[in-house]
C-alpha cells in the first residue's frame, strides 16, 4: 500500500493534513495516536468510505480513489464501534456478510463454521449476539471478515473496551491471521502495549500529521538513550538541569523530571554531582529503558508543560542558554 500526501478537510477542521506512508505486504502496521489525531478518518479514506480532499492511495496497485469497488473486494474492516447485529445470531451475522461478499453458496456453510471455529465461537454459533461478551463480539467481527479472505484487513482500535484477558486473546488471533493467511493488517490504536506487541512498524499520528514512522525498537533508539527520572523538592531542579544542557523529556509532574541520556546508569553520578553543587536536594533517581509510551510523548508532546510541543520547549531552552 502506498499513501501519498493524503488530506481530508471537513468544514471546520483539517482532519488529516498531508499523510504519506507505505505498508509492505504481510506486515502489521499500526497507526498510533491520541483520540482525534485523524486515525479513523485515514482508515475511512483507505476503505473508500470517505473521499480524500487530495492525495493518492494505491492498494495492491489499484487506485483506491478511482476504483473503489475493487478495493472494497480486497478489504476487511472491523470498525471501532460494535458492528455486529445484536438482533441476529452469530451464525446469521456471518451468513449476511458471506452473502454480501458473494461467497458462493456451495461450501459457504463450511467456510462459516470454520471461521467461527477458528475464532473460538463454535459453541455459541446459534446464540443471539446481544448475549455475547465484548470479546466474543470482537472475535465474531474478525470472523466475519475471514469469509472474504481479505488481503488487506483494517482493525480500528481492536481491543478497545476489552478486559486484559479478552485483549490477549484478540492479539493472539490477529498474529495468527498474519502468520497463516499472510494478511496485511492495518490497526489503529492508542494503546502502547498493543502497538508494541503486535506491530512490525508503527506510525505516530498527532493532529492530522504523521510525526514518526518506524519499527517500535527503532523509534525507541531514536529517542536518544535511557530515561533518568529525578525527584527533587527544590523548585529550581528543572532549570538547573536545563542550564547544564540536559535533554528534558516531559514534566515536571509532582517534582519528577525525566531526562534523556545515553548510558543512564553511568551518567547518574555526574548528574548527582552537578545537582548537588547547585544546591538541589535530590530525593530519588531511577533509570529505565524507553517504552513506546515515552516515544509517543517525545513525538506528540502530549504531556509537556502548558501543552507546548517538545520542539518548542527545546527551542525555549536553547534561547535561554544563549541569553545567559
Amino acid at each position: 500500500m502506498e499513501v501519498r500526501d493524503l488530506v481530508k478537510d471537513y468544514p471546520r477542521v483539517r482532519a488529516v493534513a498531508g499523510v504519506s506512508f507505505d505498508i509492505e505486504e504481510g506486515e502489521i502496521f499500526g497507526l498510533l495516536g491520541p483520540n482525534g489525531a485523524g486515525k479513523t478518518t485515514t482508515i475511512r479514506m483507505l476503505l473508500t468510505l470517505v473521499q480524500p480532499t487530495s492525495g493518492s492511495i494505491q492498494i495492491f496497485g489499484i487506485d483506491a480513489v478511482a476504483d473503489p469497488g475493487r478495493v472494497r473486494n480486497l478489504a476487511g474492516y472491523v470498525p471501532q464501534d460494535v458492528s455486529v447485529d445484536g438482533e441476529l445470531t452469530g451464525w446469521e451475522n456471518m451468513l449476511m456478510y458471506a452473502q454480501l461478499y458473494d461467497v458462493p453458496s456451495q461450501g459457504r456453510k463450511t467456510l462459516i463454521d470454520e471461521a467461527m471455529g477458528y475464532m473460538g465461537l463454535s459453541d455459541r454459533m446459534n446464540d443471539m449476539v446481544n448475549k455475547y461478551s465484548g470479546g466474543m463480539m470482537r472475535r465474531l467481527e474478525i470472523a466475519q471478515t475471514l469469509v472474504n479472505r481479505p488481503k488487506m484487513l483494517y482493525l480500528d482500535e481492536p481491543s478497545i473496551g476489552l478486559d486484559p484477558n479478552a485483549r490477549r486473546v484478540i492479539w493472539e488471533h490477529i498474529e495468527k491471521l498474519r502468520q497463516e493467511f499472510g494478511t496485511t493488517i492495518l490497526i489503529t490504536t492508542h494503546d502502547m502495549n498493543e502497538a508494541d506487541r503486535l506491530c512490525n512498524r508503527i506510525g505516530i499520528m498527532d493532529r492530522g500529521r504523521l510525526v514518526a514512522v518506524g519499527a517500535p525498537a527503532q523509534l525507541k533508539t531514536e529517542l536518544g538513550g535511557d530515561i533518568v527520572t529525578v525527584t527533587a523538592q527544590s523548585a529550581d531542579c528543572l532549570s538547573k538541569l536545563r542550564e547544564s544542557g540536559y535533554s528534558i523529556m516531559a514534566g515536571p509532574a509532582n517534582g519528577h523530571v525525566d531526562v534523556v541520556m545515553q548510558d543512564g546508569e553511568k551518567q547518574i553520578p555526574r548528574l548527582m554531582e552537578m545537582l548537588h553543587s547547585c544546591g538541589v536536594v535530590v530525593e530519588s533517581v531511577s533509570v529505565k529503558k524507553p517504552t513506546l509510551d515515552d516515544v509517543f510523548l517525545h513525538f506528540t508532546g502530549a504531556r509537556i508543560e502548558q501543552g507546548d510541543s517538545f520542539a518548542k520547549v527545546k527551542q525555549t531552552r536553547r534561547t535561554f542558554k544563549r541569553l545567559s
Binding site: 468510505l49 472494497r72 472491523v78 464501534d81 460494535v82 446469521e92 454480501l100
Partner: protein, 258 residues
C-alpha cells in the same frame, strides 16, 4: 452487466432477508403495531358506522374504512424506518455495510423492500381482524395479490422517505419527530377515513399529491367496490413515486455517515 444486475439483486435480497430474520427473532413489535389499527377499526369504525354521516354510497362504513386502515398500518411502520438506519449508523453497522462491495442503492432498496414485507405482516393482521368482525371484503386471490403489491410499494415509498429524512436529519429524535409530524396529516389528508370529495379545495390538493390516497384508492377498488378502472393509474403512481424516493434516499445516504 447481466452478472452485475444479478449480484445487485442478490445483495438487495440479502439485506431484506436479514431485516426479516430480525423481525422473526423479536415478534413483540408486530403485535404492538397491530393495536393501533385494531382501535381504528373496532372503535372509530364501529362508532362512525352508527352515525351515518359520511357519504360513501352503497357500502358500509367498515367496508369503506378497511382499506384505509390497512394502508395506514403499513405506512405507520414504514415512516419510522429511518430510525433503524440512524441506530445502525450509531452502532457502526452502517459503516461496515458501506465498506462491503454493496452499492448504496442496494442497501436502500433492500431495506425498503424489507419495510414492504414488514407492511404485509401488518396488513395481513388487519385483514384477518376485518374478517373476524364481519366486514364484507373481496377474497378473490388475484385481487389480494394486487393488494399485496400495493402494500409493498407503499412500504417502499414511506421507508425510503424516512431513510431520506434520516440522512438529512441525522438523529433519532429528529427522525421520530418529523415522522410523527408527517404521519397524521398524511393520513387525514387522504381518502382513508372519508372520501376526499367532502374536503375543502386546498386539502383536496394535498390528497392529490399524497401517494397514500392512490394506494387506498387502488386497494378499495380491489377489496370493496370491484371498480378497477383507476387501478393502472393508482399502481403507476405508487411505483413511480417509490422508485423516485428510493433514488433520492440512495443519493442522500452518504450524508448520514461522516
Amino acid at each position: 452487466m447481466n452478472i452485475g444486475l444479478r449480484k445487485y439483486f442478490r445483495r438487495t435480497m440479502t439485506l431484506a432477508e436479514f431485516e426479516i430474520r430480525k423481525l422473526l427473532h423479536d415478534q413483540t413489535q408486530v403485535w404492538i403495531r397491530v393495536v393501533q389499527p385494531a382501535l381504528w377499526l373496532l372503535v372509530f369504525g364501529e362508532a362512525f358506522s352508527k352515525l351515518n354521516v359520511i357519504p360513501i354510497g352503497n357500502y358500509t362504513y367498515l367496508q369503506f374504512l378497511t382499506p384505509g386502515v390497512l394502508a395506514q398500518s403499513a405506512m405507520f411502520v414504514a415512516i419510522f424506518y429511518g430510525i433503524n438506519l440512524v441506530a445502525e449508523r450509531d452502532a457502526g453497522l452502517l459503516n461496515k455495510l458501506l465498506s462491503t462491495p454493496t452499492p448504496r442503492s442496494a442497501i436502500v432498496v433492500g431495506k425498503a423492500f424489507a419495510a414492504g414485507l414488514r407492511g404485509i405482516v401488518q396488513a395481513v393482521a388487519v385483514f384477518i381482524l376485518a374478517l373476524i368482525i364481519g366486514v364484507h371484503i373481496s377474497l378473490n386471490p388475484l385481487h389480494l395479490l394486487g393488494v399485496l403489491l400495493f402494500v409493498i410499494f407503499l412500504g417502499m415509498f414511506f421507508s425510503s422517505l424516512s431513510m431520506c429524512l434520516a440522512s438529512l436529519l441525522r438523529t433519532r429524535e429528529r427522525v421520530m419527530g418529523v415522522g410523527q409530524a408527517l404521519m397524521m396529516p398524511l393520513f387525514f389528508a387522504s381518502n382513508a377515513i372519508y372520501p376526499s370529495t367532502i374536503l375543502p379545495g386546498w386539502l383536496k390538493a394535498i390528497v392529490i399529491v399524497n401517494p397514500l390516497s392512490y394506494v387506498i384508492d387502488g386497494m378499495r377498488g380491489l377489496l370493496v367496490t370491484n371498480d378497477l378502472s383507476k387501478l393502472p393509474v393508482d399502481l403507476l403512481v405508487i411505483v413511480f413515486t417509490s422508485v423516485v424516493m428510493m433514488a433520492l434516499a440512495s443519493w442522500s445516504l452518504k450524508r448520514i455517515i461522516s
